[in-house]
């Protein structure tokens, strides 16, 4: 369909694909980008939080025209049981800065904008084009991509797989495994629309200020999972995700859990009277450091969610995607500048760059957290939230019981549910995995 050979083909137009394509084009390389959807963003789902620092490296003046919703003024971490929440909130006027650090965004709109920047920089974007297969030569080198368009083979010196957590090309070509049920979470999400003044009033906000709520506890019924609520300008994104392996072994439906979360007495008043305009689902990479696959080979690189680049503890994914997409582009540019081929040996530069960045350092820091949380999900997501809630209620309820007896009852409840070795072991294991 296109006879010319490109310097690079980027498969996918999400965060990592757009970051990669844009950077390649900014460096003067000839880039073809393939996207299944009718426009960049139409297949993409995220909560979504945007991290300014990583976008500034791509589009320094993005605040002038990017479709941003609200900058995040306040973060609420909630531990919930069925009738209560206890939380750590951080709200600071320092976040009302000239160049805020975090924003809520709506991915379909944001991705379309970032893709336009890439096209303005010279990227050729083919939408409504599903990449179906990597083309390899007799030596196994990737030399192009087959698409579902008529005669749809395109060639390039290097193919960047920015195909997302559920990318088919890399796994079909045997470059990495299909994610295992223990390595991905299934998240469902709804968009609830309300007038912006209503959102301002409910969350104590002024114009463009936003709140993020991230919650864990009995809402996931003992599964490894969490829920979120993000304020956009005129809408609220509310969602919930749990490990696929936990969902498989349990009794819950994803939409049933979401409905229960929305009905929770701490959440329902925030959503009251809203109009739901979309219901979506997506997988989230949760395997962490130990699930990161081979990142490069002869003629190919993998970036973003497809490479499991997601920091589940800090709930950061899009910034890792943007960063790895950009680093892939910079590695390719360096190789091209030396007029060298995109061999496996040369593309190892990409892995070095990723390892030197915050991406791999952060994943490495938490390399043992997935194993801990995934195997002890009932303790961390059900037992402790219930115990903490009861402890707080016992502490606050004034009923004539002497305080010394209240404290003893609280300690007894912890020891009865988890035992002394269990409590000490959990604390030790958590501290070690966090370190």
């Amino acid at each position: 369909m296109i006879d010319e050979t490109f310097d690079a083909i980027v498969v996918g137009a999400g965060m990592s694909g757009n970051a990669c394509a844009l950077t390649l084009a900014q460096r003067g390389l000839k880039v073809l980008q393939l996207e299944r959807g009718e426009y960049a963003g139409s297949k993409n789902v995220q909560g979504a939080i945007l991290y300014a620092d990583m976008l500034e490296k791509l589009v320094p003046d993005f605040r002038e025209d990017a479709p941003l919703e609200r900058h995040v003024l306040e973060q609420r971490f909630w531990m919930m049981d069925d009738t209560s929440h206890m939380g750590m909130h951080y709200r600071s006027d320092d976040f009302n800065e000239a160049r805020p650090n975090r924003y809520t965004i709506i991915r379909a709109q944001f991705d379309k904008w970032l893709s336009r920047k890439a096209q303005e920089a010279g990227v050729t974007l083919l939408c409504e084009t599903t990449a179906t297969e990597l083309i390899q030569d007799a030596y196994g080198r990737v030399i192009g991509v087959r698409t579902d368009r008529t005669g749809g083979i395109v060639h390039a010196d290097v193919v960047v797989l920015a195909e997302g957590v559920n990318g088919l090309l890399g796994s079909r070509a045997g470059l990495r495994a299909v994610p295992k049920a223990e390595q991905v979470a299934l998240a469902v999400k709804e968009m609830h629309f309300l007038p912006s003044e209503t959102i301002d009033a409910r969350f104590n906000l002024k114009e463009n200020e936003g709140v993020v709520i991230e919650a864990a506890g009995t809402l996931s019924k003992g599964m490894t999972g969490m829920a979120f609520l993000y304020t956009n300008k005129e809408s609220i994104s509310v969602g919930l995700g749990c490990l696929v392996s936990d969902f498989r072994d349990g009794q819950e439906t994803p939409y049933g859990l979401l409905e229960a979360f929305k009905r929770h007495p701490s959440i329902a008043p925030l959503l009251a009277g809203s109009e739901v305009k979309e219901y979506a689902a997506h997988l989230i990479p949760e395997g962490g450091y130990r699930a990161v696959p081979q990142l490069y080979g002869d003629g190919w690189l993998v970036v973003g969610d497809a490479a499991q680049f997601n920091n589940a503890i800090h709930r950061e994914g899009s910034n890792l995607a943007m960063t790895t997409g950009r680093l892939a582009a910079e590695a390719i540019f360096q190789i091209k500048s030396r007029r060298e081929p995109c061999t496996k040996a040369n593309l190892a530069l990409y892995k070095t760059m990723v390892e030197e960045s915050f991406v791999m350092k952060d994943l490495k820091k938490y390399k043992d957290m997935p194993a801990l949380l995934h195997t002890q999900s009932r303790n961390f997501f059900l037992t402790y939230p219930e115990l903490m809630s009861k402890a707080a209620q016992n502490f606050l309820r004034v009923d004539g019981t002497p305080k010394i007896d209240k404290e003893k009852a609280t300690w007894r409840s912890f020891v009865q549910r988890r035992s002394w070795p269990g409590l000490i072991g959990d604390a030790f294991r958590l501290a070690r995995a966090w370190r």
Binding site: K43, V178, V184, L283
Partner: protein
């Protein structure tokens, strides 16, 4: 407040269905595996169901292309999973 059926939730979404070309197919089977059976509960779009013979069937018109069923059932060959042809499938307005 009763829980709305998943079909009602999908009503808000935009789709361009590639009629006659389902992008997910279930392989013929007599009794479903535990993973395949779990999809009747797990699929966030409710695409999987049981027929009268106790076999699992899929109608992927409301599919989000999330890949949950691929993760659970493709390695064993119980389902065949492809993305819809370019432009078809779910069309997120907000994502």
């Amino acid at each position: 407040m009763s829980t709305p059926r998943v079909e009602e939730k999908l009503f808000q979404n935009r789709y361009l269905v590639d009629a006659g070309r389902p992008h997910i197919r279930v392989a013929a089977h007599t009794a479903p595996s535990a993973n395949l059976l779990a999809m009747t509960r797990l699929c966030p779009a409710g695409c999987y169901g049981l027929n009268d013979a106790g076999q699992v069937e899929v109608v992927p018109d409301g599919c989000f292309e999330c890949g949950t069923c691929r993760v659970l059932c493709e390695p064993s060959g119980e389902i065949e999973w492809n993305y819809p042809r370019g432009g078809f499938g779910v069309l997120f307005k907000f994502g």
